[in-house]
Amino acid sequence: MSETPAVVVSGLKVQLGGKPILKGVHMEVLPGDLFGLLGRNGAGKTTAMRSLLGYLPYQGGTCSMFGVSSKEVHKIKQPYGVALDPPGMDDTLTLRQNLEVAMIRGGIQGGRGVEDVLDLVGLKHRQHNRGDRLSHGQGRRAAVARALLGNPQLLVLDEPLSGLDPEGVERMLQLFRELSQEQGVTVVLSSHHLREVEHVCNRVGMIEDGITLLEGETDALLTAAGDGLLIRAKHEDRVREVLASLEGVDGAPRSVDGQLQVRIDASFDTAAALVQLVEHGAGVEEYARQRAGLVDVFHQALEGMEAVQ
């Protein structure tokens, strides 16, 4: 497999109505990657994707897929599928007709057909429903189904998990994982559900306020973020005192949902810390060491950005 990136976005700047929306987005996706473009609502994920796909003009930087500029997407030879938000279903047609017209427009001869993709996303029972009769989640799945038609080598999916029930999320993530790992399909998906995607994306990029905060291998980012310690106690002030005196504690604890969270490094002695907390009468009710998640990575990156500013 060639290691020429399937997608490259560099220094992307986009203005809409004179207002800067993207101020510097970067992304490099290798063939076979399952790349998560992550960030909060309004961070600029959708704008970045639309620029990448050539739907929105950009004022600075570069965007390319398979080495072809996004300004000339029709010159791309490799098949790719797109699922954006809104799903782009023609409400005057049934789901099946939407897929059939996509087959015609795409000149799709081999690969997955209408039946196959309906099966994959679990919407066969809704194939005769018109676009406006699908729920939000079904619309998202329908958009993914259309993107899967034929034999796409790249999938660009904007918020494919939005509005899905837990079972649907699991099904979609499993599908993306199989496509990426077993069939070598490159998948770029955007999401604000960081917890859900951290187990499937091998690479992620995080953007906030139109700027890429960080980008890299998911495992490497999680390792670099270190572990976290979760403590629920009757006396938070005593917990803070004890933690401040311990080695291996990285930064001040944050209070989240009635519990304290603090980052720790490899030198932190979990058992000894618990003994100290008990001895100081902190009233510990819950005590757990956890591996950092992408949410923690995101918060760290945000703190880093704020510190720089």
Partner: protein, 285 residues
């Protein structure tokens, strides 16, 4: 070129499958057919009340009823062209449906060109349905002999070229209809909302009627002036009246407008097609 053909085949598929398009074809057929049937009913009631019978009034003849029925159907056709073609694209852009074809190696130029071609086909298929509806209904309810009045031959279908003028006027309607099709596609690329696209389009359709005094002799240069139903210089309207036996309904000076009408829609035709393609090239979707 492949992109264009794929886009065009997709648009043809939509033309066949969209319920609004299907219903509009049925609708224009029914309007034309029912208009003729209604005319027969009205004449029958008038005859029963003592007014002229089939051998006395030109209106009892197939030819004027075919012409009038066609014209009645064309009122709906002209509005339908605008609604379906001008209103469609903004709605598709808003729903996001347009993005998928553009991701399938179909350039914007190819995509808009395909839509322009549909903008030529749709008016013709609607027109065909109107002609079928009017012809079928007129052939059922009226006789296609010479135009009679008081038992005398007022107009001979062959000698007075009644059918010839009617067919010619129906052919004359094609250039402005094609221009309207492309103009509607242009409107669809020019405005963000279907309401604005249809509203401005409707304004241009009604402009020759509303601005008759201002436009004067230049009116035929606005292609909507020659539309068979809503155009004030409709050739079809004149020939339908002529076929009914109103000899003064076909003044010779109208011939000049007819001659001009073969030419004047084409500048609008080419400009609308060009602007449609150019405006969609940079349109955010």
């Amino acid at each position: 070129m492949m992109g264009f053909w794929r886009a065009f085949r997709g648009e043809l598929y939509l033309l066949r499958k969209r319920r609004t398009v299907r219903w509009m074809h049925i609708g224009v057929f029914l309007v034309a057919a029912l208009f003729v049937a209604g005319a027969r009913l009205k004449l029958g009631l008038l005859h029963a009340a003592g007014a002229g019978g089939p051998d006395q009034v030109g209106a009892w003849n197939y030819w004027p009823q075919f012409g009038e029925g066609t014209r009645a159907g064309m009122f709906l056709v002209e509005i339908a062209i605008l609604l379906l073609l001008a209103g469609g694209l903004p709605r598709e852009i808003r729903s996001g449906a347009i993005r998928d074809p553009l991701s399938r190696r179909i350039s914007r130029t190819a995509y808009t060109s395909a839509r322009c071609l549909i903008g030529l086909i749709l008016p013709l298929t609607l027109y065909l349905f109107v002609l079928l509806g009017a012809a079928l209904s007129a052939s059922i309810f009226f006789d296609a002999g010479d135009i009679m009045e008081d038992g005398e031959v007022l107009l001979s279908i062959v000698d007075d070229q009644v059918a010839h003028h009617l067919y010619r006027s129906m052919l004359h309607a094609v250039p402005p209809l094609l221009a309207l099709g492309l103009f509607s596609v242009w409107m669809s690329t020019a405005f963000r909302t279907g309401v604005a696209a249809v509203g401005v389009g409707l304004g241009v359709i009604l402009a020759p009627t509303l601005l008759q005094d201002v436009l004067g002799d230049y009116a035929p240069w606005l292609f909507t002036d020659l539309l068979p139903a809503l155009g004030p210089d409709s050739y079809l309207e004149r020939t339908a009246g002529f076929a009914a036996g109103f000899s003064d309904a076909y003044p010779y000076e109208f011939d000049e407008v007819v001659k001009l009408g073969w030419l004047t829609p084409w500048p609008a035709f080419f400009l609308a097609g060009t602007f449609a393609i150019l405006m969609f090239r940079r349109k955010p979707v």
